[in-house]
């Protein structure tokens, strides 16, 4: 399958067998491109229909191009409030989950201690449990304690499911970390605190940022767990759900497109940042 093997001269290679080899070689490429197109199709639809000028309530058929919804994306009643609420929740949940998750990741990677297996298990289970069970069980906790549902119960729910994702992301970046750099700092007279602030933290910062970005995007996107613990508070996904029966306004597509664009830009920036910080030849 390597280029060298392909380039080996073969005798008696007929046109038919060459054609067959070409098909065999490129079938998978063709399939891969097709699969990517399938993955992109709904995204393209979301973007395109943000420019649609629908006749009625339903934004299904193409009626004509307009930039009206882009000029006033928060026009429909309650939409702006829902987006603001979503962002506030995501910011609080991201900050808390990133701090808690990073500390757990540090403990797991750098120390050997009793209860390690149990800790790994506790981190792993929320990642695989169905969201509906996470949401429902948290609701039963709040119901049994008579807790009023709203902004803070949503924040708690989001921190809960984001912690594990942060731990996994930060841990993945910590594993390849060269401890010698820290030892060098200590040899040069830095104490543990200075070493952490000046050496460790800057080195693991891209990992922490990646974890925080993931937490933020999970929080802003979450519908299932939120719907169980929201009370009357409305986040952006809850707004979309409430409008889905009556026809979602094109402004929702505009905001969906914005979230998508921002996420892609941040992803690319993080990838580029890491490429730049990784010395050439290092893993």
């Amino acid at each position: 399958m390597t280029a060298a093997a392909e380039a080996l001269p073969r005798r008696n290679r007929s046109a038919a067998s060459r054609a067959w080899a070409f098909v065999r070689r490129h079938t998978i490429t063709f399939f891969g491109v097709l699969a990517l197109a399938y993955l992109m199709l709904p995204i393209v639809i979301v973007v395109v229909f943000s420019f649609n000028d629908p006749a009625g309530r339903y934004n299904y058929t193409w009626e004509g191009f307009t930039t009206e919804h882009w000029r006033n994306p928060f026009g429909p009643p309650f939409l702006g409030d829902a987006v603001t609420t979503s962002i506030e929740i995501a910011v609080v949940a991201t900050v808390v989950a990133t701090i808690l998750g990073t500390l757990v990741a540090l403990a797991l990677v750098r120390y050997h201690f009793r209860g390690r297996g149990a800790t790994n298990f506790l981190i792993f289970v929320p990642l695989t449990a169905p969201e509906i069970v996470l949401g429902a069980s948290l609701l039963t906790l709040f119901l049994n304690f008579g807790t009023a549902l709203g902004f803070w119960t949503i924040v708690i729910a989001h921190i809960m499911f984001c912690i594990s994702f942060v731990v996994v992301t930060v841990r993945a970046r910590l594993v390849g970390f060269d401890r010698h750099v820290e030892e060098a700092a200590m040899d040069l007279g830095a104490n543990e605190y200075v070493t952490f602030m000046k050496i460790t933290l800057p080195l693991i910062a891209p990992g922490i940022l990646a974890g925080a970005l993931l937490a933020f995007s999970l929080s802003i996107d979450d519908f299932v767990i939120t719907s169980f613990n929201s009370g009357t508070t409305e986040t952006f996904p809850l707004y979309v759900w409430s409008q889905a029966q009556r026809g979602v306004p094109p402004e929702v597509n505009v905001i969906g497109t914005m979230i998508f664009g921002i996420a892609i830009v941040l992803m690319l920036a993080n990838v580029i940042w890491q490429y730049r910080r990784t010395p050439k030849g290092a893993a």
Binding site: G32, G101, A107, Y111, F113, P130, V224
Partner: protein
Amino acid sequence: MGFLHRHRWLTPYLLLAPGIAFLVVFFVVPLYYLGYTSLQEGTVQVGYTFTWAWDNYREAFSTYRGQFFRSLQYAGVATVVALLISYPLTYWIAFRGGRWKNLLLLFIIAPFFVTYLIRTLAWQNILSDDGLVVGALQALGIVADDGRVLATSTAVIAGITYNFLPFMALPLYVSLEQIDKSLIEAAKDLYASSTKAFLRVTLPLSAPGVIAGTLLTFIPAAGDFINAELLGTPRQAMVGNVIQSKFLEITDYGQAAALSMILMAVILLLIAIYTRILGTERMAG
């Protein structure tokens, strides 16, 4: 710093404490309360009391058996389809991607950046009666002229497949990418055909990715209710729809909690059987 210096063994526990405490209080304890609620009787008006009401389980299961098996069936079909799409796709990226690998991977993750509900609504648009897909299928004679795709099982399964496909593709990619290419060349040097090299070397080596991917796809798919709600009708309702409406609309907490417990138990059981059959514990990939 003096205290910590004398008790260095404490450091990992101090780092763990806040995060683990949070997960215990808001993940583990709620599971206990889910079980507790599932054995309660009552209504919103008179309140709920714990009475070891096992009837909740019996009734919930006998009434909603159909939705249960439908959930497992839809999730199963969607998982298989997602595997059939993801395997060649990630194989192509891992083995032929070259320096474009990371960019191509971004395409796989991209759907995650569009809000779940919005991308499902986009499928509502695509599959709608005068949308792209129905027109094409009618022209090809696969769907009758008055036939629909939206509001059928096919639409719900298609939505589930699309929404959870990245969960399949990412672990698959990781395991395919890690395969030492020289092993495949070695098989070919020993006169294995491409097919045989794939079946005997690549496929077994990618098994951890297949296992992790199928589990990570099947589990959320079995609990999903968004696709059935937006792309189906009540006739396509899954167990998630029942749990959701019982908790949030008709406040029948006992049965709703019982259904959640059954769903969780069935999923855990399936995971146990599945990993036992495949003889591996490497679920995390």
